[in-house]
Amino acid sequence: MDVALKIWRVDGETGERELKTYEVEAPEWACLLDVLDIIKDRHDGTLAYRKSCRMMICGSCGMRMDGRAILACKERMKPIVERGHVPVISSMGNLPIVKDLVVSMDPFWDKIRAIKPWLDPGYDEAPERERIVSQKEMNVIAKESLCIMCGCCVSECNAMEADPDFRGPAALAKEMRFVGDARDQDDVPRLNTVNDEHGVWDCTRCYFCNERCPKGVDPRDAIAKLGAESVKQGIDHDLGAKHAKWFVVSSKTTGWLREAELVPKTQGIIAAIKETKLALSLLRHGKLPPPGPIHVAAEVDEARALYDLVKSQDRDGALGIVQGERGLARIEHVEAEGAHRDVPEVTPSETPTPAEG
């Protein structure tokens, strides 16, 4: 079949870039990676990209197609060709470009190393045989263990775009791989590490990482698990944690969120006063209910009772999220239908967003 691609050729040193079009013939079973190989072999040997296993396990070939991160070896070209679409290929986001589709993974690995990515079993002398761990305990980190370190999640992370120091979905998912591992004895220090300024509470919950991950790791869920474990361990000094806990308190007392008290209760009076300007503007527009009788949902005592009940049932912390994974794994994802309309050629992010180093 005839395949056309547009590729952003980039000189990493000078920053010069050019969008080049390539038209080649490729077999029907070809994936994006196969097409890149044909281009490099037969048309332009200077095209630079990484590859190795071509079977979605090594993590080398992360790149962007139409502005979204994918593994080149996983994307079949036939459906794209049949739609008559010419995709734009560029390098992954949030990482500095070395050349063309090759990014420097140094910032990525620096963040991985920063979370002490090795098991801390809490002993020096190993026992003679294997440690006894149940399959159920190991299943707590079944998803985190799938990570192939491809960088697709990091590429799309909205929080990292705005805060380049954010530890990011890959490093945090890797941290959860250890926190959730029954054999690792370092939970509290680990959680303290990732409750810092650029840690779990810096995540904006955009779910791009879950969406892009080619292996189903669901890094956002791993971050939520770390948050859950932190709260369980009483590590709640971060404003994000306080914010989250206020939601819990609200649900048990008034049902609906006690918005008006959110800032003073979580940030304290001084900060509340600092936000006076904003608060006044909200108040003026009726966005902030004046202090006084609060609207309480009906039958709130049911919520209170539920809280006490579930707390006694030992599914605290990350287990509350893990328990739902079996149900979610059984979803048969159907191709989304939706509002039918001619979709214009302009795709979001055709031009690559500038990568911060």
Partner: protein, 560 residues
């Protein structure tokens, strides 16, 4: 010179990383060189599991494991090496678990073990169907813990020899450009196999036999080069691997008549017979017209959705992405694909080669643990056990010797050679040569081998090598020039192909993966119970022989 180290490990897959960790823990200054990031290494693609006589699934012991391995090797394996592997395997697997490897567990929380091809007991420890992935990550974690120096994306090209010793490596710095020399008292080669010689292969693009050829070119002999294993269940046309674990969980192999045809070839073991037996059976079925579009069918449907989702989730993903088939509902079309190279750099049981200061471990080495055919699950075990052993021995030698000498002429010669290649403007692009090599090896040196075809292949390889002399690298730049490294990889492959065909012609019998049903259908222990050896002399492989070490088990008829 960039730097010098006590131990320099070339290749950062399982064997390389394990060797580096061991050498470091024994006090040596260690560095790793890898042309790709360590976790991208092809060890990570291994799926089914790692063999050790842990005894968690049945009453097992290292001697049974050794016997299965010896028989599996069609008696070409060196039995002292095999016994060492099987004895040390359990401890080595426990070590991995202590480091945090995520194994699947039994009901009572021990490391689970599944049945695998040609094994008398279920002894393949596994992590769902991503065992290689799990192991490569646990080893890289341990590498990060020790902060081991890694020359990442450095393409090792030549070994430095001086004073009859290996003194280091010359490599092309892929990220920044330029040749860099790294000196070392000892070098351990752990560069994996060369599946890229074949059109349909489970191997990554990176598996181009680099280390084997590097050793060959400095006079180190290679052993049993004709022994290439064809994995029975790979997807067409790419060769993507579908794990033996599917058969370990109970999958069937069917022909176009929905018959479990293995009852005619291996009536006892059926789908869990030895890989070479099954590949030959499949190829015969396909050749005799009972295939389906050049493949046979791997049927998982009767295993049920629950089991597939839990234990074979990765397999399902691969089948759906690359074969467009959901194994819960449809069988997967599979055929034999080049998978594992039993042959390689001739080493002893410590990973030592003939050349002082040079060691080898993993798939690139030939101890020989696998002889003429490897059991599924033994390769991962070999990388760990022999990686560890060679790391220990290399560290020991390095710590008791002091000098490293890299003659400047070695560097300037390499620069000159590279310049000639890069400067060439007129010539052939590598892909044509590469594709022709892969196609013809597939046709003439595949599952079944014939005298006439092998002789033809010898000619073809010679002709391709000639054409390689005028190969052109289009990218003349310094930054991330993998056009250059891919051209160098082709050079490595061509010399290995030559060695393989010469060895194949010389072995006039059928043994293990070397099947010659038309001219020499039987195993000939009287004349050929020995290893082939090739040395590179005068630009060609020159053949020799080496005896097989037998300790306990005399050759018997090999039936499954």
């Amino acid at each position: 010179m960039e730097a010098t180290h006590d131990v320099l490990v070339v290749g950062a897959g399982l064997a390389g990383m394990r060797a580096a960790i061991e050498a470091h823990d024994l006090g040596a200054d260690v560095a790793l060189i890898s042309k790709i990031h360590p976790v991208r290494s092809h060890s990570g693609a291994a799926e089914g599991g790692i063999n050790a006589a842990l005894g968690n699934a049945s009453d097992d012991d290292p001697e049974k494991h050794a016997y299965d391995t010896v028989k599996g090797s069609d008696y070409l394996g060196d039995q002292d090496a095999i016994e060492i592997l099987c004895n040390e395997a359990p401890g080595d697997v426990y070590q991995l678990e202590h480091w945090g490897a995520i194994f699947s567990r039994t009901e009572d929380g021990r490391i689970a073990q599944r049945p695998f091809g040609a094994a008398g007991e279920p002894r393949t420890a596994y992590a769902a169907d991503i065992t290689g992935h799990v192991l490569i990550h646990v080893l890289y974690e341990q590498v990060m813990k020790r902060d081991l120096r890694t020359y990442e994306e450095f393409f090792a090209w030549k070994l430095v020899i001086d004073d009859d010793r290996c003194q280091g490596v010359i490599a092309w710095d892929l990220l920044n450009g330029g040749l860099k020399t790294i000196g070392a008292k000892t070098v351990i080669i752990a560069t994996g196999g060369a599946g890229r010689l074949y059109q349909g292969t489970t191997n990554a693009y990176a598996c181009t036999g680099d280390g084997m050829t590097m050793a060959l070119r400095v006079g180190v002999p290679l052993k049993d080069m004709e022994m290439m294993q064809f994995h029975p269940t790979t997807l067409s046309p790419t060769g993507v691997l579908i794990t033996e674990g599917t058969r370990g969980e109970g999958a069937y192999l069917l022909n176009s008549e929905s018959e479990r045809f293995l009852k005619r070839y291996a009536p006892n073991a059926m789908e869990l017979a030895s890989r070479d037996v099954i590949s030959r059976a499949e190829q015969t079925e396909i050749d005799e017209g009972r295939g389906v579009d050049g493949s046979v069918l791997l049927d998982l449907r009767h295993l049920g959705a629950e089991k597939i989702l839990e234990r074979l989730h990765g397999t399902r993903e691969l089948a759906m992405t690359f074969a467009l088939v959901d194994p819960i509902h449809e069988p997967i079309p599979v055929r034999p694909g080049a998978h594992y190279h039993m042959g390689g750099i001739d080493t002893d049981v410590d990973g030592k080669t003939e050349l002082e200061g040079l060691y080898a471990a993993g798939e690139c080495a030939c101890v020989s643990v696998h002889g003429a055919n490897r059991l599924g699950g033994n390769a991962l075990m070999e990388t760990i056990t022999y990686g560890k052993r060679s790391g220990a021995v290399a560290a020991d030698w390095a710590l008791t010797h002091t000098t490293v000498a890299v003659p400047p002429s070695v560097e300037s010669d390499a620069q000159r050679e590279l310049k000639t290649l890069l400067d060439r403007g007129d010539g052939e692009r590598p892909w044509r040569i590469r594709d022709e090599l892969a196609k013809t090896m597939h046709e003439n040196f595949g599952v079944f081998r014939r005298e006439k075809q092998m002789k033809e292949q010898e000619q073809i390889v010679g002709y391709l090598r000639e054409r390689y002399e005028s190969v052109v690298v289009e990218d003349k730049g310094e930054v991330f020039n993998n056009d250059l490294t891919q051209a160098l990889e082709l050079g490595f492959l061509l010399e290995l192909a030559d060695c393989m065909v010469v060895s194949g012609l010389a072995r006039k019998e059928s043994r293990g993966a070397h099947a010659r049903p038309h001219d020499y259908p039987d195993r000939d222990d009287e004349n050929y119970l020995k290893h082939t050896i090739v040395r590179w002399i005068g630009g060609r492989p020159v053949l020799d022989w080496k005896p097989v070490t037998i300790t306990k088990w005399q050759p018997e008829e090999r039936k499954y």
